[in-house]
Amino acid sequence: MKRVVISGVGAVSAMGNDVSSLVKGIEEKKSAVHYMEGWDQYTGLRSLVGAPAKLINEKAIPRKNRRSMGRMSIFALQATEQALADAGIKHEELTSGRIGCIIGSTMGSAESLNEVFEIMLPQKDLTKLPSMKFFQCVSHTAAMNVSQCLGITGCVIATSAACASALQAINVGYDLIRLGKQDAVACGGAEELHPTVTGSFDVLFATSANYNDKPHKTPRPFDRDRDGLVCGEGSGILVIEEYERALRRNAKIYAEIIGYHTCGSGVHVSQPDKNSIALCLREALASANVSPKEVDYINAHATATIQGDREEAKAIKEVLGDSMPVSSLKGYIGHTLGASGSLELIVSLAMMEKGIIYPTLNLDNVSPDCQGINHVMEAVSKDISIMVKNCFAFGGINSVLVCKKL
């Protein structure tokens, strides 16, 4: 098996449209969560907060590429271009067939889907539907648009497992490179904020609804006063590459990917399950040949739902014990769903590089049901050699990635 390293990163998030603004915002303990103007027109929508990203420079994308893109594909393209530039991979290499593109999301563009409904449903009339709505709405819209626009001719795959989509994309890319089928892959996730997306969680009472008048105070992962998740948007893309190739190019190596696991809970579509999370953690560590004591930091999924945070804290305690530092980044940029795995991994890589662990924003009082693990509540200096990234999705899908500093 070949070794796989991360050699490029790119991000669009509510903190800004590059990796440095994302990391800087988190370093400064800023919240990118806002009250969403206009959302109060939706009857029954309790959660009126979100972490929106800004669409910028989209006109720089040629019309024939842009026409098939919703917001999330534009975010994904811009993040991919940043990651490729950061890795030093040139445009000519993308047409070799040896470089792939794997980008996941919960679904296609939410804004475009809603436009389709608005055009088609009132009079049940299809004649006003523009040709491009299909390409904006399909589940593989980000992977398809990015690969078409950049001329990528390697493996193009879209993972779709809601909040585990980005980590699963990295998992697939890792395997393709390990097996020698690809030399490098641009992989990660993308997602779009829309009242109907927040609404789909809101009807399940999974969203934060008590902080509409003080949006910066939510979400509150692991906190006593947490009341649910806050949706965000953006895209995080990583270039992962075969180790020897990266060495030959003298590329900057952020970390080596040394293992992962993904599994289903087989229990319930929405209720998180401590046992399957613990199993996923154990299997991921086993695949990386790492003992729990060797792990220096875990970047939690922790979205600030009552059940999710509780089950994750219990699983971390069971597998990794009570002293290993844990933090969640959802308080800063909301839950970016299909993009969360890659955006948060990128920030975790920055922590690894700087030797600092960023705390869980809005964690003021650890909830009794989340105690027994080492919550990072203020930034701490720490040499991170091995870190673990968690992602758990509705549908009972778990994904855990293990990275090592070289």
């Binding site: 019309r63 024939k64 026409r67 004649t127 006003k128 539907l129 523009p130 040709s131 491009m132």
Partner: protein
Amino acid sequence: MKHEITENEIITMTNQVFEESFEIETEKLQPKMNIFEDLGLDSLDIVDLIVALQQKFGVKIRNDERVREIRTLEDIYRFILSLKNEEH
């Protein structure tokens, strides 16, 4: 009394479609321009052109065989004019 659309209005409104939907500069919108070779439209754009023209002029052309013969901007102006004349 219903306003009858003039040829100039048809040209202006058609050109608006090309500016708004296909982001083509006004200067390029000359009658003899081939919409594929000169203006760069492709088969997917034609679907959107039909939708846009239908909405702009209140006509139904989706299943009209004459759409297939359109090559230039002038062809579109003439086609819309003939449709409007057929209404009377």
